[in-house]
Amino acid sequence: MAASAAIYAGYIVVGLIFLFPLLWVASLSLRPMAELFVFPPRLVPQHPTLAAYHDVLSGSPLARYLLNSVKLVSATVLCALAIAVPSAYALSRLRFRRPGLKPLVMLGMLAVQLISPLVTALPLYRWFSTLGLINSHAAVILVYVALSAPFATWMLTGFLDTVPVALDEAARIDGCTRLQSLLRVLLPVMLPGLASTAILLAISTWGQFIVPFVLLTRDDLYPVSVGILDYQSSSDSVSTHLLAAAAILSALPAMLTFLVLQRFIVGALTAGAVKG
């Protein structure tokens, strides 16, 4: 059918546009140094080699950068959700003394997002420096959580609003405290919302640059978003192939995770995104 063919054509065009930059970088990563700047440029190198990957993996801490990123992201997501869930509960289920307060708080959550970490980075650096909290993953996680929790709260409040009050009311009538009703009844129902929020937080935290850049000076603590800059050609050498290999390696875990969890991710977003 013509429509199906058109759709496939669309798939291919879209796929190429989004994949091509990565393919080019992959191509650069598989070249020996002599072929890096060859003219005319070829997509497929003549003498492909895994030397760059070997150099990057054995001679540099990329694996550690990736692990640091995973560590920071997981801890941040857990802590941010731990703070956001009770906050969302309060905003969704509890009455405020003054009715105008709730929209104000919600707006506040959004407004706080506006404040780029770039703005708070320097005062935080100076402050943490005097406290001796530089080069501490715990400090970085704390800042990440502060950056993510408002957004998580905002999203979870939206999800909770779609869950009928009757559900947890019933539990409370049966004698549960609010906390119990939250943990036993609401949390299981909120799972799709939690999942999609977790994913969004993970992605934004994975890409965080300025906070770790400012608060970490030891490179064995860097997440990959900061560590990757180390591979850019410095004043004394060309490291384009290394940079390319590092870029591909740092993209792989994210891509694989997405491929595997895709159905789940999209399902979660579908279930909760509509209310917004």
Binding site: V14, P40, L118, T120, A146, W206, I228, L259, A273
Partner: protein
């Protein structure tokens, strides 16, 4: 029934909100206060003593340069929003249709598009810089020369540089837009489409009268989130052009980065940061009103 007097502890919202508010107060309020204080000084590096003055604001606001940077930022943000929303919608529609007809491969397309979003901004800047190499070893330059361009210019002239920086940003952010709209499209009840078809609507009309209205809420949220993210973007631009040529791609966020981390002008950097926050807050308020109206509509 709650007595008119004291409410039980667990009913007080601020108790539940306490951890969040405490965190925000400590890690946001304090730095914000400090930034505002810094903006009212002429602070530079740690060694020179600082004095309180409006000079930082004066030197920034109203300078022709700042105006130029504001223009750059406005163009960058507006074009990114438009691009991400439109392409996100097109791709979401494409994938939705494909799934509706049970064509395999939708999952792969979604995953591919998401690649751009998941990579850290600095990596994306680096990737596009490699792509847009103008010296002939660059693949895009080569393709352009094959198509007849004699001196392919991507990042070495002001207008093309801003264009390509925006393209890279759209490449990066379309995925999020797509996912949100895809989720929205999937929840449109098929009956609405069936009714429209019965009424004689073609594909475009279905889109206009069924899909778009259903997506309204999501589009607004999308708009807010993209604006916030793009307004604060600098990590991608840094390796890509560094703000150049000249200041042609220096968005305000990048300017703040340079002021603070390259030039050690903490006072000026703080002043620009405060201005950026004010702009963001104004936009936020606008959007909030649009959202409110959207809800009551």
């Amino acid at each position: 029934m709650i007595a008119a007097g004291r409410r039980p502890l667990e009913d007080r919202p601020f108790l539940w909100l306490a951890p969040l508010l405490l965190l925000l107060a400590v890690l946001y309020l304090y730095p914000l206060v400090d930034v505002t204080r810094l903006s009212l000084t002429d602070a530079t590096d740690a060694a020179t003593p600082a004095h309180y003055t409006f000079a930082s604001y004066r030197s920034v606001i109203g300078s022709a340069e700042f105006l130029a940077m504001t223009r750059v930022t406005v163009v960058f943000v507006a074009a990114s929003i438009a691009g991400q929303l439109v392409f996100g919608m097109l791709i979401a529609a494409l994938v939705c249709e494909g799934e509706r007809r049970h064509l395999p491969g939708a999952a792969i397309v979604r995953a591919i598009v998401l690649v751009g979003w998941v990579l850290p901004g600095v990596v994306i800047g680096i990737i596009w810089k490699l792509l847009l190499d103008e010296s002939g070893a660059g693949i895009v330059a080569y393709a352009a020369s094959l198509m007849g361009a004699r001196n392919p210019t991507f990042l070495s002239a002001p207008v093309p540089a801003l264009f390509w920086v925006t393209i890279a940003n759209i490449w990066r952010g379309t995925a999020f837009s797509m996912i949100m709209q895809y989720a929205g499209m999937k929840t449109v009840p098929p009956e609405l489409y069936e009714a429209a078809i019965v009424d004689g609507a073609g594909i475009l009309q279905q889109f206009r009268y069924v899909t778009l209205p259903s997506l309204r809420g999501i589009l607004l949220i999308n708009l807010v989130l993209i604006t916030i993210a793009t307004l604060n973007t600098f990590d991608m631009v840094l390796p890509l052009t560094g703000g150049g040529p000249g200041r042609a791609t220096e968005v305000i966020a990048l300017y703040i980065y340079h002021l603070v981390f390259s030039e050690f002008q903490f006072g000026r950097g703080a002043a620009v940061a405060v201005v950026l926050m004010a702009i963001g807050l104004a936009l936020s308020a606008c959007y909030a009103r649009m959202l409110q109206r959207g809800r009551t509509a």
